[in-house]
């Protein structure tokens, strides 16, 4: 098997394996484990792992202020800087917050994405030239995926809150506004699966991206895709008793866990995959979520020349001092008429 197949099929088998484990467990007598123990463990691993990883990062200092500047910097007061410059090259904290907000909420850097291609050009003596154009599909896929996932997660709060949060009720209306099918189809679910599908399709079909992809790249995509599909199946096709689902969920949320009967095996598969995602999160590339806040090329004000940045491990270095230098070249310097400190 080649590199791609090895990595893809390992990820695929891992997800299928998780599905089988959950199915067998739910069919067997392990509903308590999969309904109560595993969710608690996953939540603990998620929170503790994430906090631990962030703290591990923070144990290393940021020795230099190295923001990547994406616009005109603050120099002379009359040099024109539009809002884009101020956000892409922030010279104060409010604009830095703006830059980070754009990055986190709008994927600003990805929005900048270009596609560069080598095209045949018979007019050129070499027969080809490069062209660059704005390429927003990756941005669109990514932002659709992330926001759809966010809405899906928020909607699930109806299982964890009693009375259900107003926000959730509102989302429910907006998300199902098409009033298509019964129960009403949630756009977020469809968008989530479509966007993950696109990202997976792109990863497999784009030769360059496939070349760099590891099992760790396919696994979360396949996992989230499976979560989306099992969720859709549960809502529209193989229904389970959602009163029982809520009893389970709110029992977990209030720390009074209880395991209602009447939960389908498919539900346990869905739940277990979600738990797997949460538990996997801190050990994976999914840490890009907290990571973007810690990225020194984005989270620093571009004020190097007027605010000193301190490096906690700054140390003296040996350099060729002027005295040594003059000792070495004194005669030549005197001869050339260059002023010296010591004539002899």
């Amino acid at each position: 098997m080649d590199f791609f197949k090895r990595h893809f099929f390992v990820a695929l088998s891992a997800v299928l394996g998780l599905i089988i484990i959950a199915y067998v467990g739910a069919r067997g007598n392990l509903q308590l484990v999969f309904g109560v123990v595993v969710p608690y463990m996953a939540a603990l691993i998620f929170v503790e792992g994430l906090v631990y990883r962030v703290i591990q990062w923070a144990r290393s200092p940021v020795p230099f202020r190295i923001p990547t500047t994406g616009g005109q910097g603050r120099t002379l007061p009359w040099i024109k800087r539009d809002l884009g410059d101020k956000l892409d090259n922030p010279s104060d904290t409010p604009h830095l917050i703006g830059r980070m907000a754009l990055e986190v909420f709008a994927f600003r850097s990805l929005f900048r994405n270009l596609r560069t291609e080598l095209v045949k050009d018979p007019d050129n003596p070499e027969g080809a030239r490069l062209i660059h154009w704005s390429y927003k599909w990756l941005w669109l896929g990514a932002i659709a995926f992330h926001y759809a996932f966010l809405v899906v997660i928020l909607r699930h709060l109806r299982f964890f809150t009693e009375p259900t949060m107003g926000l959730v009720l509102m989302l429910d209306k907006v998300d199902g506004f098409l009033q298509f099918f019964t129960p009403a189809v949630y756009l977020s679910g469809v968008v989530l699966v479509a966007a993950v599908g696109y990202l997976l399709f792109r990863r497999i079909t784009n030769p360059a991206v496939r070349y760099i992809s590891l099992a760790a790249d396919y696994f979360p995509l396949l996992l989230i895709l499976s979560i989306g599909i099992t969720g859709i199946l549960l809502r529209y096709f193989f229904k389970t008793d959602i009163v029982a689902v809520k009893e389970l969920a709110i029992g977990l949320a209030t720390l009074h866990p209880k395991l209602p009967a009447n939960l389908s095996s498919l539900f346990f598969v869905h739940l277990f995959l979600v738990c797997a995602l949460f538990a996997y999160f801190p050990f994976s590339k999914l840490m890009h979520a907290p990571g973007v806040f810690m990225s020194p090329t984005r989270n620093m004000v571009c004020n190097n020349r007027w605010v000193m940045h301190v490096n906690p491990w700054n140390y003296p270095v040996k350099f060729h001092s002027y005295a040594e230098y003059e000792d070495k070249f004194r005669d030549a310097m005197i001869e050339a008429g260059i002023p010296v400190e010591k004539e002899q």
Binding site: V54, A58, D172, I242, V243, V245, I250, H256, W313, P316
Partner: protein
């Protein structure tokens, strides 16, 4: 300058990185915000016992039924998960004479697994027994925040009669 030789030549001291959290306040603030954000929905009921809804079967019609007839058109367990799908099928069959999906109703007829025939009607059959929408239907619907649009047309029986008068 001491003649300590590191991998790159000379400097006074090997750079030592203090064992501590750098940007401590910002990092901790960020983590606290994160934890607060993900737990906010849980605070309200934390530690409390949230009772599961108990839909009431206490209606005059059900009371009058003989013990052996005290059962729904389909098994209770099945109804809990699938009643909405059955009602949709009924509607579609009645309104659009579509083929059945999950149950065995044709037109206005519904044949239960035990062979008994029912009129496929939310108002006339379901709510005949379950005339207590507030204590039966709404209990679970509110609990799981389901907002079925049945009640746009199908009013409760009592109300309907009252309005008719």
């Amino acid at each position: 300058m001491a003649d300590y030789k590191n991998e790159f030549g000379f400097f006074a001291e090997r750079p030592k990185v203090e064992k501590k959290l750098f940007d401590r306040n910002k990092v901790i603030a960020g983590l606290v915000i994160f934890i607060v954000m993900i737990t906010i929905p849980l605070w309200q009921n934390l530690g409390k016992t949230v009772a599961a809804p108990a839909p009431s079967l206490d209606t005059p019609v059900i009371k009058q039924l003989a013990a052996k007839d005290k059962k729904c058109v389909m098994p209770t367990e099945w109804m809990r998960a699938n009643h909405m799908q059955m009602l949709v099928d009924w509607r579609d069959n009645v309104v659009r004479t579509k083929e059945q999906l999950v149950t065995t109703s044709r037109g206005r007829e519904f044949v239960a697994p035990d062979g008994k025939q029912y009129l496929a009607s939310l108002t006339n059959t379901c709510m005949e027994c379950h005339s207590n929408k507030v204590d039966f239907c709404d209990k679970c619907h509110n609990y799981v925040a389901a907002a079925p649009n049945c009640w746009g047309c199908h009013l409760e029986k009592g109300k309907k009669l009252a309005e008719a008068k």
